[in-house]
């Protein structure tokens, strides 16, 4: 039976504020346990939370970045549960009035197409502390340094259909929040963590299958592996006549598997209610406008500008703009090439293919936009053919070439466009192949390609193909 995978992600992004969301304690990573937990973070009797105003512009910037609506009133709720690393016995979060509602992102897939993923909501909340089980015999250590760290939880619709798409979406969100400057995006330090809701259903059906939630996956690689494991596990269960239990699971990277953490069916009731220690905050149009004005150009705005300014197709423009770093690389390249259409095409096709093949990000690319631009301008000014350019690109990619022009010079790759030097060569080839020449003249014009090919072979691809075509045709007529 063929199955369709349905995935929704909850991504917890740590907002890059200096102090915590409800206290003045530092959010700096890596301090000695419990040295960055003040009375508020410890939940001592009598303490009160005060919202760190820095979180609002960051959350609003994200909302605007995904085209969401921003709540006019932002309020907090208490989510009640007992756990040793949750000092107050409740987490302050946003249940009823999340600051960001709706929105969507267009994520670039490996095949160069875009996919829209819808966002349900994004809300502000505090992180819990950390339970340390390893270093303590027969007991658990609690580190509350993380308690009260500001998080934006971004909840997607179940729009993704494969682990690859889920990873592409997570990467996109990662890139967006770092691009907007609302998070440092440091995944090794826990600045971005994913909960993956995964279910499967028979292909062609629309009813949702029972889902499981795999919690706290903190790398893209693990995310892909966790989802793939979960999809396979669910298939095995269903195909052997079992049923999926709705539950929370944990991914174990050492064993490459997910394991049940707790069953949702027996899970507790969180008893949400409005947080009485914090008054609802009005977010007015002026504030939103202020945030908007201080934001960098968003992917969608950029795409519209690219289409207009560089005369690119909508599809090309969207792909180029989707990754801000790729977009910058494109625009830098245009500075040196001046042929935006060629540049757009080459960035989208040749460059992206190589980046995906070698799994490297544009920011880690050794090839400078300048050299890439020079390479493309050598196509435009007919110094080299497109085919030669691809070879040079590979040489640049491998580090065998540093300067495009020097490489062309050194390897004598200049396109031969001079009819004076091409004409004798063509005449010689016609003379060497009398049979084919005769057949051509009798109407077998397909043989034009044979002669052109011979010329290209003789010139090691350096001849201008267009000119060779014309010359061969003239000589044979």
């Amino acid at each position: 039976m063929a199955w369709e995978t349905v995935i929704g992600l909850e991504i917890h992004v740590q907002l890059n504020t200096k102090s915590k969301i409800f206290s003045g304690a530092s959010t700096e990573f890596g301090a000695e346990p419990n040295t960055q937990a003040c009375a508020v973070d410890l939940g001592l009797p009598g303490v009160l939370p005060v919202v760190n105003a820095e979180v609002y512009p960051k959350a609003v910037a994200f909302g605007l970045g995904v085209g969401a609506s921003i709540s006019k009133i932002s309020a907090f709720d208490r989510k009640n549960y007992f756990y040793p690393d949750l000092p107050k016995g409740y987490q302050i979060t946003q249940m009823d009035k999340p600051i960001v509602l709706g929105g969507s992102v267009d994520i670039p897939l490996a095949d160069g197409t875009l996919k829209q993923v819808n966002i349900t909501r994004a809300h502000l909340e505090e992180d819990a502390g950390k339970s340390l089980h390893e270093e303590f015999q027969q007991s658990t250590g609690i580190d509350l340094n993380r308690a009260g760290t500001p998080l934006l939880e971004i909840v997607s619709e179940p729009d993704m259909r494969s682990a690859k798409e889920a990873v592409a979406y997570a990467k996109y969100i990662h890139q967006l929040v770092t691009y907007l400057g609302v998070s440092d995006g440091n995944m090794a330090e826990g600045s971005l963590r994913c909960d993956a809701n995964v279910s499967i259903r028979p292909s062609g059906t629309t009813e949702m299958g029972t889902r499981t939630e795999t919690k706290n996956v903190n790398s893209f690689r693990f995310l892909e592996r966790a989802i793939n494991f979960e999809v396979q596990r669910q298939q095995q269960v269903l195909e052997s006549g079992g049923r999926i239990v709705q539950e929370t699971r944990l991914f174990d990277p050492d064993r490459d598997e997910t394991r049940p953490m707790r069953s949702k069916e027996t899970a507790m009731d969180y008893r949400y209610f409005p947080e009485p220690d914090l008054l609802p905050v009005k977010i007015d149009e002026a504030f939103i406008a202020e945030v908007k004005n201080s934001m960098p150009e968003l992917p969608r705005e950029k795409a519209a500008r690219f289409a207009n300014q560089y005369q690119l197709t909508q599809a090309d423009a969207q792909v180029l703009a989707a990754d801000p770093d790729l977009a910058n690389y494109f625009e830098d390249t245009v500075q040196h090439c001046h042929d935006a259409k060629t540049t757009g095409n080459w960035v989208r096709v040749e460059l992206l293919a190589r980046l995906n093949r070698d799994d490297i990000h544009i920011t880690d690319l050794a090839l400078s936009a300048e050299q890439f631009g020079i390479l493309l301008s050598r196509i435009s000014d007919k110094t080299i053919s497109g085919k030669i350019a691809k070879d040079i690109l590979d040489a640049l990619w491998q580090g065998e070439a540093q300067s495009v022009d020097e490489y062309i010079e050194k390897n004598d790759l200049k396109q031969v466009s001079d009819s004076g030097s091409l004409a004798p060569l063509i005449e010689k080839i016609i003379a060497d192949n009398p049979k084919q020449a005769e057949q051509y003249r009798q109407g077998k014009t397909k043989l034009l390609g044979f002669f052109v090919g011979q010329v290209m072979k003789e010139t090691a691809g350096k001849a201008n193909p267009q000119q060779v075509n014309e010359l061969v045709r003239t000589k044979l007529s």
Binding site: A39, L42, G43, L44, P45, G46, V47, L48, P49, V50, V51, R78, N80, F82, P84, P87, K88, G89, Y90, I142, D269, R271, Y272, F273, P276, D277, L278, L279
Partner: protein, 488 residues
């Protein structure tokens, strides 16, 4: 007149003129606290710290420094965190808890020069109307030691009434300042919600809790309120409003003051002698030039059910932090995490606290939230509207503080509903967040009876003005409880 029968305003004059020193005044109170230990007003007495503070106050005065409350010995309800001093909230759970910081109220009063005598007894986590739920045993009413002082600020009320401090701080979530003030014959004020910072005040029900002064006179209450009030960056719910000079308005004439009587407060349940006292108080206000009219608060009857949903709901979350993990009581030899939670909380909390946590957790649970919590919030809004409508017609509202004077110890401990009904006249003020106070207005069978004045938002000055003018015409507030002896 002995030192402890003098008001704070008079004591400040005495200290200033050198009649006695802050050390002498403090010693006087410390002696009395010891002598009347049986009243059980204090959980912690800070003899050394108080004397050191009094010494410092005397030195400061000698150097010409003029603090607003320099050298005045007061007591804090044991719900306010005091740095380096046990802060128990009347609970076994916090019997070992030493607060690492001062509540804003404590810090502000300290900055104004008060001497802190100690921490007063209270119902556990402020849950109670008789001071009988305290882990440290009940407080006895100085007017009749077989009776309760009211609650939850029963220790503070009894201490002020018995002359064991010049004044005390209290907190009021459903009447916890006003009802014990009435039962002990003192003046107690619950300000507008947000007037005084809640930072460092151990939370019972966050949207209702409000600190306030408990004193012998309205003038003293005004002086304390002056110091205690103000916005606080550590409390988001504190109001960002300037603090007026509360004493400046005290002398204003009451000519033309419009006083509304809430019809429903007199309809049922009010003891006849207490009603008589209220009627006489109304006559005094009429003589002072006030115009009396009747007003309706149609939803007031629902205030008790609404309160007993909202307050336990908030409490159930507020008290989750007492889990035996980081501070406070922890059970012995827990076998696992579940056992640690379960036994620490079962053993650390008293019956009433556990009852309210369970009520709160129930009303917030899935399937019941709309029927209880949401409904209660709707009632709360209607009650606020009732008051706003009333305040379009009148300046202040007047009524009883409590249905009857102080009852016998143990009389209502087995009847929770009867106990909860003690707050029938005070709860609406908390639900609406209005300023309200209780002042002594007479006696019923030799027990003090309080009259309650409720003002519009931020109109503390107005009710203090009415209270002060009333106290210029009457001497109920000057009466001392016979049980402890006036000149004793």
């Amino acid at each position: 007149m002995t030192m402890h029968e003098r008001s704070i305003v008079q004591q400040l004059d005495d200290l200033h003129s050198g009649k006695y020193s802050a050390v002498e005044l403090t010693r006087h109170y410390l002696d009395r606290i010891q002598r009347h230990e049986a009243l059980n007003c204090y959980i912690t007495v800070l003899e050394e710290k108080a004397l050191a503070g009094a010494n410092a106050a005397d030195s400061a005065r000698a150097e010409g420094q003029n603090h607003l409350l320099g050298g005045i010995p007061i007591a804090h309800k044991d719900i306010f965190c005091t740095e380096g001093i046990k802060t128990s909230a009347g609970s076994k759970m916090l019997d070992s808890f030493i607060a690492p910081y001062d509540a804003t109220v404590v810090a502000k009063l300290a900055a104004a020069g008060v001497v802190t005598l100690g921490k007063t007894n209270m119902d556990e986590f402020a849950m109670g109307s008789s001071n009988e739920t305290s882990f440290y045993g009940p407080v006895r009413n100085p007017w009749d030691t077989t009776r309760v002082p009211g609650g939850s600020s029963g220790g503070s009320a009894a201490a002020v009434a018995a002359g064991l401090c010049s004044a005390a701080t209290g907190t009021d979530t459903g009447g916890s300042i006003r009802q014990p003030s009435a039962h002990c014959g003192i003046t107690g004020l619950k300000p507008t919600y947000g007037r005084i910072s809640r930072w460092g005040m151990i939370a019972f029900a966050s949207s209702l809790d409000q600190a306030g002064p408990m004193a012998r006179t309205a003038e003293d209450a005004a002086l304390l309120l002056q110091v205690m009030s103000g916005s606080d960056s550590l409390d988001s719910t504190s109001l960002d409003e300037p603090v007026p000079d509360y004493r400046a308005d005290l002398t204003r004439s009451l000519e033309g003051l419009r006083i509304g009587l809430c019809e429903d407060f007199f309809a049922t349940g009010l003891e006849a002698d207490s009603e008589q006292v209220i009627q006489e108080a109304i006559t005094v206000f009429e003589q002072l030039g006030a115009k009396i009219s009747r007003v309706a608060l149609p939803h007031i009857a629902q205030s008790i059910p609404a309160y007993y949903v909202i307050a336990p709901a908030e409490a159930s979350a507020n008290l989750s932090r007492f889990d035996g993990i980081r501070f406070g009581y922890r059970c012995e030899n827990p076998s696992n995490l579940e056992d640690l939670y379960s036994r620490s909380r079962s053993e650390g909390f008293g019956e009433e606290v556990k009852r309210r946590i369970m009520i709160g957790a129930f009303t917030l649970s899935t399937g019941y939230y709309d029927a209880y919590y949401r409904k209660a919030q709707q009632i709360r809004r209607l009650i606020k509207i009732d008051f706003q409508t009333a305040f379009e017609q009148v300046d202040i509202l007047l009524g009883p503080t409590s249905p009857q004077p102080a009852f016998k110890q143990g009389e209502k401990t087995d009847d929770q509903v009867a106990m909860y009904l003690q707050d029938i006249y005070t709860i609406a003020g908390n639900l609406a967040g209005l300023p309200a106070m209780s002042i002594p207005a007479g006696f019923s069978s030799k027990l003090p009876v309080g009259v309650q004045l409720i003002g519009n938002y931020m109109q503390e000055g107005r009710i203090l003005n009415a209270a002060h003018q009333f106290q210029q015409q009457t001497d109920w507030h000057l009466r001392s409880p016979g049980a402890v002896g006036a000149g004793d």
